[in-house]
């Protein structure tokens, strides 16, 4: 059961081979056994989870008034601790919100509740989603289940590691510059960042609102599609939520790869890639070529500017979004202060960690008088060039394939003191959110150290079903996504 896909679990629940209470108990016990070592969950409430499981069992039995059961009814799902929940505290990985319980549920939480899924707990994350290693969490780093001396990636590192260690069948995450895809790659799981606007940001604590997008992490592309069917949908409370007819993200899982044009951007296969990553990604490309797809060389010429653009725009938006944490309406307040301004300054100095403060300061600077045009407007102009690169590329291909990250999981502490090195590692995941495009990562092999390698598939706006279809075909022929890590034996 621990290694089963969502559709297998769904069938087992429907056939009464297992109850939701038993299934939830199984994963709670797994969390109990492994969390001390991997630190993937910040908050678990067994009584709450089991209560929801009992309701799901009644729903599957046709009792109660929650409506008929769906594919996710009774399946435990872990949630990144950035999604507000009324029943579990929501910390966003920060001291600022260490004691915060939200008076409302995020739209994503409402959707999973309506589907009858069980809230398994809240997963660890980089503080306010600012980080690529999960080392900035106030609650301590998450450890990679493939090698506990290494990072799981970030910022959705807890969600990725929980799925990798089979502590949760699937999890939610958010992606601003790679925070779903990069940890998915580094922990050997599948993760999807949808087109901007498909998943409501209501109740998803804001980092950089023009980039933030919720999405799923799971073992397989097919599971990602099932998760998307529950997560995506219009929500009037998010002004950027898209009003579109609902779609079935499973609809292209049986698609034929014949004639599909796969773009290989030269910039994604340059010198900075580790040999083990290159080898695994090139082998995956050959697999697609051998199964009917045609590859075309493309260029995304402004790729090298994506990281600098991101580190103007994301901190600028963050400095504005995080102004709300002032010690007045919720969250931490400093004990000692002399006046109101001093209370703000001390509250924020104490409540925020080093990386969050760094980004707020950068954002404040680039938005300040005299620098706005030189930094902020300039970055918005280059953002358009990056988006245009993709428009040109998708005129010549259907999907773009490359590595998710230039490296496999790095040791804890290796980049923690050098933010610029940490930032540059996200070079392949930052362009898609700048353009608002969807991207996913699936496992495509291991390097010589036995660490998983992620294959990134990017598609045009609203091409999620096609991307998931291509990924699913690959996963039917390979078993990288079914391998479980040595640090968390089944």
């Amino acid at each position: 059961m621990l290694n089963s896909t969502l559709s297998q679990l769904s069938r087992a629940l429907a056939a009464k081979q297992i109850s939701s209470v038993e299934l939830t108990r199984l994963f709670l016990d797994r969390i109990g056994a492994l969390n001390g070592r991997l630190n993937t969950f910040i908050t678990v409430d067994e009584a709450h989870s089991l209560g929801q499981a009992r309701v799901a069992d009644e729903r599957r039995a046709g009792k109660g008034n929650a409506g008929s059961a769906g594919p996710l009814t009774g399946i435990p799902i872990a949630h990144k601790d950035i999604f507000c929940t009324r029943s579990l505290r929501t910390t966003c990985g920060s001291r600022m919100l260490a004691g915060y319980t939200s008076p409302f549920d995020a739209h994503v939480i409402e959707r999973f509740d309506a589907a009858g899924a069980v809230q398994l707990g809240k997963t660890n994350m980089d503080e306010f989603a600012m980080g690529s290693s999960n080392e900035t969490s106030h609650f301590g780093p998450v450890r990679n289940p493939w090698d506990a001396s290494r990072v799981p990636g970030g910022s959705s590192g807890g969600s990725a590691a929980a799925v990798a260690a089979r502590m949760a069948p699937a999890a939610t995450g958010t992606d601003t510059g790679g925070s779903i895809r990069q940890p998915a790659a580094l922990t050997g799981v599948s993760g999807l960042k949808p087109t901007y606007g498909l998943v409501s940001r209501y109740g998803m604590i804001a980092f950089a609102s023009s980039l933030d997008q919720g999405g799923p992490l799971a073992k397989s592309a097919e599971d990602l599609a099932l998760m998307m069917n529950a997560m995506a949908g219009f929500d009037a409370r998010d002004s950027t939520s898209l009003e579109r007819p609902s779609e079935d993200y499973c609809r292209s899982l049986a698609m034929d790869l014949k004639g599909m044009r796969i773009g290989l951007p030269g910039e994604y296969f340059g010198d900075g890639i580790e040999p083990g990553v290159r080898k695994a990604v090139e082998e995956a490309v050959r697999w697609f070529q051998g199964h009917g797809a045609r590859t075309v060389s493309i260029t995304l010429p402004n790729t090298g500017l994506a990281v600098p653009v991101y580190y103007v725009l994301a901190p600028a938006e963050a400095s504005s979004n995080l102004a709300r944490f002032d010690g007045v309406r919720y969250g931490h307040r400093a004990k000692d202060y002399v006046d109101l301004a001093d209370m703000y300054r001390r509250t924020r100095a104490e409540g925020f960690g080093t990386e969050v403060k760094r980004r707020i300061l950068i954002g404040t600077y680039v938005l300040s008088h005299g620098y706005y045009d030189a930094y902020y407007l300039k970055a918005q102009q280059v953002r358009r060039l990056i988006a245009k690169d993709f428009v040109d590329a998708f005129a010549r291909c259907d999907l773009i394939i490359g590595p998710t990250s230039p490296t496999t999981a790095f040791p804890l502490g290796a980049k923690a003191d050098d933010p610029v090195q940490m930032y540059l590692n996200d070079i392949f995941t930052i362009p898609a959110p700048l353009a608002g495009l969807p991207g996913l990562s699936i496992p495509c092999g291991f390097d010589a150290k036995g660490l998983p390698v992620g294959l990134q598939i990017m598609g045009n706006y609203f091409a999620e079903a096609q991307m998931l279809g291509a990924a699913h075909r690959y996963q039917q022929a390979t078993d990288w996504h079914l391998r479980a890590p040595g640090e968390a034996p089944l």
């Binding site: 403060k357 404040t364 300039k378 918005q380 610029v420």
Partner: protein, 99 residues
Amino acid sequence: MSLTPDQLQRIALLARIEVGAAELPGVTDCLNGVLGLIDQLQALDTRGIEPMSHPLDAHLPPPQRLRPDEVTEPDRRDAYQKGAPAVEGGLYLVPKVLE
């Protein structure tokens, strides 16, 4: 462009974040490293390019909606104030601003 410790203190004041004297040199150095990274943008000629502020603005008609100007939220003041550090009589308490 690079920041001096004095300029950093000014930014910290605007951001309402206290930066102590002991951490000031380290924070300044670190921020200058990041500014070095983003200064790469200055080399590019971007004259005539329209700034992109919404990730889908090149692709879709403006997706920002306006809703009818009607009351849609119930009064949940008590629920919202439950998590506040200090409240009294339905008001948020802050240090005295005016003597």
